[in-house]
């Protein structure tokens, strides 16, 4: 069971449908691991429904009703079937779909000896959506964020000065938090990271890499 959760502000933005696409995908993925946040989100959605019921109705003409009645026999558009998810996979269906399968399907880019990154396309023009693969015991060099960063642990775990995180845990950081996560010794760690500004390594040995880390949104 996840121990680190999105706060109520984030869940409200998610439930109200006002959160950017890439961030919503990350929250949705956390909900797959977390019945507690799922219940919280359901309540926040009920709030939306109560507000919706309280709106002053806007008149809708009979012609509109006729138009809809005339379309009822249309074939519904094909929608993505959840039944197609990888059998036995614990990965949220939404992520499997974005990745076209599982981690092995991705193209990984080597950043350091223990860090590989794979960029996943979501269509969100403002956020980068990437998977980080950190070797067991490996460390991501100390870095800062100029914007916000959502992280969700998908496999294994990592720790930093603030705590240690495992599968399903969600971490949100804003502005200039500097940290240096280290993967647990026991297994490789895979995380999802959603960023609105590129990482900046702070140590002098790694600073030369910053120019390669421009934001890959889209």
């Amino acid at each position: 069971m996840a121990k680190f959760h999105p706060d109520i502000d984030l869940l409200t933005e998610y439930a109200a449908g006002i959160m950017p696409l890439a961030q919503s995908a990350c929250i949705s993925a956390h909900l797959n691991y977390c019945p507690q946040c799922q219940r919280q989100t359901a309540r926040l959605q009920d709030l939306g429904a109560v507000l919706f019921e309280g709106l002053t109705p806007e008149p809708v003409g009979e012609a509109q009703l006729e138009a809809v009645l005339a379309r009822l026999d249309e074939q519904p558009p094909l929608s993505y079937s959840r039944a197609g998810s990888v059998a036995g996979g614990r990965l949220p269906a939404l992520l499997q779909r974005l990745m076209n399968g599982d981690f092995s399907e991705l193209v990984w880019k080597k950043i350091t000896s223990s860090l590989r990154i794979s960029y996943v396309k979501t269509g969100d023009p403002n956020y980068e959506f990437a998977l980080y693969h950190i070797k067991a015991g490996g460390r991501i060099p100390e870095h800062k964020h100029r914007g916000s960063e959502m992280t969700l642990v998908l496999q294994g775990g990592f720790s930093d000065a603030a705590g240690s995180y495992h599968e399903g845990d969600f971490i949100y950081r804003e502005l200039d938090d500097s940290h240096a996560p280290t993967a647990l010794q026991t297994e490789d760690c895979i995380c999802l990271a959603v960023l609105d500004a590129p990482l900046r390594f702070t140590g002098w040995q790694y600073r030369w890499m910053n120019s390669f880390l421009q934001l890959r949104a889209g």
Binding site: H5, I8, D9, T12, E13, A16, G17, I18, M19, L21, S24, A25, S28, A29, L31, N32, P35, Q36, Q38, R39, Q40, A42, R43, L44, Q45, D46, L47, G48, A49, V50, L51, F52, E53, G54, L55, T56, P57, E58, P59, V60, Q64, L65, A67, V68, L69, R71, L72, E74, S79, Y80, S85, P92, A93, L94, R97, L98, T122, G123, D124, P125
Partner: protein, 204 residues
């Protein structure tokens, strides 16, 4: 099971509690059940007459959507209601929450279409894979919903205003802050206060 039983004793029986609180929503759940089981067009028409004007009001509340797009949204949502009625589970959600969720998703998709987002995802794809619902949790959810109804009237106007901006107008916290000329922190704390007053937050 034991916890469900305790709940039972506190409130009389679960069934009587349901009956006394949910009459208004029950009518719409029944409509959806008729649509799903019998493709009942009369039930659909009743449902349309009640919800279409609310969907239109929802579409227009942000004042960024044209009347044409609002009408388009009404049609799209009502067509989805017809097509998806079989997926409606009255045990899990109230009919109005179910419709609201479809309307919210369709509006999000429409905005993304208008902004020419190139994404493989529709808003409804973000619904998490669901666990089978547990009876006790569902009872709590229904109670929470009734409480929101009851407490809404006592919400201070500044908090109610922000909730309307965020949920109905679809403004982000930052956009609401800019529009009302308030610091972002004030907007966030008003939303949080409202959520506390409505007893929506689950302790964890």
């Amino acid at each position: 099971m034991r916890r469900a039983f305790v709940e039972d004793r506190e409130s009389g029986s679960v069934t009587s509690w349901q009956g006394s609180s949910g009459r208004r929503t029950d009518e719409w759940s029944e409509c959806l059940t008729l649509i799903a089981s019998k493709e009942d067009r009369a039930a659909f028409t009743r449902f349309f007459r009640h919800f279409a004007p609310l969907i239109k009001a929802f579409a227009l509340s942000g004042s960024t959507m044209s009347a044409t797009h609002a009408d388009e949204l009404v049609q799209e949502v009502m067509l989805k209601v017809w097509q998806k009625a079989r997926g409606f589970d009255p045990e899990r959600a109230a009919a109005s929450t179910w419709v609201y969720t479809i309307a919210r998703n369709c509006r999000t998709d429409m905005f993304r279409r208008l902004q020419k987002f190139n994404t493989p995802l529709a808003a409804e794809d973000f619904t998490p894979d669901q666990e089978p619902a547990e009876p006790f949790a569902m009872l709590q959810t229904r109670r929470s919903r009734d409480r929101i109804h009851e407490l809404m009237a006592s919400l201070p106007p500044d908090q109610a205003q922000i909730l309307a901006k965020v949920y109905m107008e679809g403004k982000s916290h930052a956009e609401a802050a800019a529009e009302l000329d308030l610091p972002l922190g004030t907007v966030k704390s008003r939303v949080r206060l409202a959520i506390q007053k409505l007893q929506i937050q689950i302790d964890r």
